[in-house]
């Protein structure tokens, strides 16, 4: 454990990157996933078909390949993301970070969409019909009636999707972001005699992070439960 404590600031910064990847990609995938789900359940056939194709395409592609696409194929056609260069404290969000965030977002969006769609399907059809009957347009039906109920039903699957995303950020460790996994490999390489401790420490931190997420989702579930 001493090794991890001795390098506490480096480890903290690494988890800072992990968490920032998670938060940024989490928020973005939440927004795009909701839009995509609305497209998918909406009445416009073209949009619904397009959303279905997106989900099929992205959900069936390994995450690593999705990110590599933005990391290496992008620059080949001149998309180096070099317009992104933000520093927040010690965190440096550069072009590599941007490519990783885009990859994570594109990937997770498909799963968020499907989690929400399961929630939408759980809402009784009568609800949407009643909303339409009182004259709400599609956006109103979704925003006022269906999505609030759908969100509630999709908290557990959404939490699963985002927990998986938190762990998926480790893929960025070999693609240019010095996050927790990359830092762990650096430490195990430097301190050959305390590999097990380093490994256990990093695994424990991940367990704690995921536990916090699970706790938050359990609270949300309880709070939004219909009496």
């Amino acid at each position: 454990m001493d090794v991890v404590l001795d390098n506490a600031s480096a480890v903290a910064l690494a988890f800072g990157y992990t968490l920032s990847l998670f938060v940024v990609a989490g928020v973005l995938s939440g927004i795009f996933g909701t839009l995509l789900a609305a497209m998918r359940v909406g009445p416009v056939a073209v949009l619904s078909r397009a959303a279905a194709i997106y989900v099929t395409l992205v959900r069936n592609t390994p995450l690593l390949i999705v990110i590599i696409f933005f990391r290496f194929a992008g620059p080949k056609i001149g998309l180096t993301w070099s317009f992104v260069d933000i520093s927040i404290g010690d965190l440096n969000l550069n072009n590599l970070y941007a490519a990783c965030v885009v990859g994570l977002t594109v990937y997770t969006t498909a799963f968020v969409c499907e989690a929400l769609r399961s929630g939408v399907n759980a809402v009784d059809l009568g609800q949407a019909e009643a909303a339409r009957a009182i004259g709400l347009p599609f956006s109103g039906v979704m925003r006022e009636v269906v999505l609030p109920q759908a969100m509630r039903a999709s908290v557990p699957p959404l939490a699963s999707v985002q927990i998986a995303m938190l762990k998926n950020t480790t893929v960025c460790g070999v693609l240019g972001v010095l996050e927790a996994f990359a830092r762990m490999k650096g430490l195990t390489n430097d301190y050959a005699s305390s590999r097990t401790e380093i490994f256990v420490a990093f695994a424990l931190i991940f367990v704690v992070l995921v536990e916090v997420l699970s706790f938050a989702s359990a609270r949300l579930e309880r709070r939004w439960r219909v009496a």
């Binding site: 620059p75 180096t80 590599l96 460790g173 240019g176 650096g186 390489n189 430097d190 050959a192 590999r195």
Partner: protein
């Protein structure tokens, strides 16, 4: 006895030099031909690991598969090539095992599994660009160095960056879990981890990162692969002492390894191995490094 061996070594050296002079420089893929030495009775003390290996006629050596010039194996070849492999061949030959035969197993070791493999006895020796560090010496035996290298910077051919000093605050690529990445950070640059060195080179080529950094020998190999597009710049800003790893359970191997290395320094086979592998990327053959003394057993 000793005299005849040195004479023989000189004769072999002279012969190989004259052969090298009239032959072509040799393709990069082919290593040296090292012939197994005769192991006479009593060369290795009874009960030592060397005696055991010579008796069994089999040895497993951990090498890298992904470092051109040091330890590299492409999909089409059966055995890896590179300077690490050449040095390993000398050790193998000294045990009376034919380095080109199937009796030698070249096991791939990546940075993370070198110590575990030695501890488990899965490999007998590790020659995998294995930097000697005090931390590693706690868990495995390391001796040498048979090669000393340092970290440099690889940039695009048209870049004005002249060394690591110009890269403060900039992004520099290197491989995860390597000392190179830590040295880059220590020098004030921002580290970007990658899986392989060729991945870093790709990033430098397409402008995603400004530079990459690791041992000069590896960079020279990459620069040679992308001639005219990439260049190696700056002085070496770290010192990596590449050594041989063995298990702490067999400390007697240290003296033997040092003996073989010393002999190869003297008879020129070390220099020749260097020229055939790393020398191909334009580096001058350096003086053989001074070996560390073995810890008292």
């Amino acid at each position: 006895m000793r005299h005849t061996r040195i004479k023989a070594a000189i004769a072999v050296l002279g012969l190989s030099l004259s052969l090298a002079a009239c032959g072509d420089a040799g393709s990069d893929d082919e290593g040296r031909d090292v012939e197994a030495e005769e192991v006479e009775e009593g060369k290795f003390e009874e009960g030592t690991k060397m005696a055991e290996l010579a008796e069994a006629g089999k040895i497993t050596i951990g090498v890298k598969y992904d470092q051109p010039g040091l330890g590299f194996k492409d999909a089409s070849s059966d055995v890896p090539t590179g300077f690490d492999v050449e040095v390993a061949k000398l050790l193998v030959a000294d045990l009376g095992i034919d380095p080109a035969s199937d009796s030698v197993t070249w096991e791939e070791t990546i940075s993370d599994n070198r110590e575990p493999y030695l501890e488990e006895g899965r490999v007998d020796l590790v020659l995998a660009s294995y930097s000697i560090t005090d931390e590693r010496r706690k868990v495995v035996g390391q001796t040498g160095p048979y090669f000393v290298t340092g970290q440099q910077v690889l940039v695009k051919a048209d870049s004005d960056i002249a060394g690591i000093e110009d890269l403060k605050g900039k992004t520099v690529c290197s491989v995860t879990g390597s000392t190179s990445l830590e040295n880059v950070e220590a020098a004030g640059a921002k580290g970007a981890p990658a899986d392989t060195y060729s991945q870093c080179a790709e990033d430098v080529l397409n402008g995603t990162v400004e530079a990459m950094s690791t041992d000069g020998s590896i960079l020279l190999g990459l620069a040679a692969q992308n001639e005219g597009e990439l260049k190696v710049v700056g002085d070496e800003f770290s010192e990596e002492r590449i050594g041989v790893g063995y298990s702490l359970e067999t400390p007697e191997m240290c003296d033997w390894i040092n003996g073989v290395l010393e002999e190869s320094f003297e008879d020129g086979s070390w220099a020749e191995a260097f020229e055939l592998t790393l020398g191909g990327s334009g580096a001058e053959t350096p003086e053989p490094p001074a070996l560390d003394p073995c810890p008292a057993a």
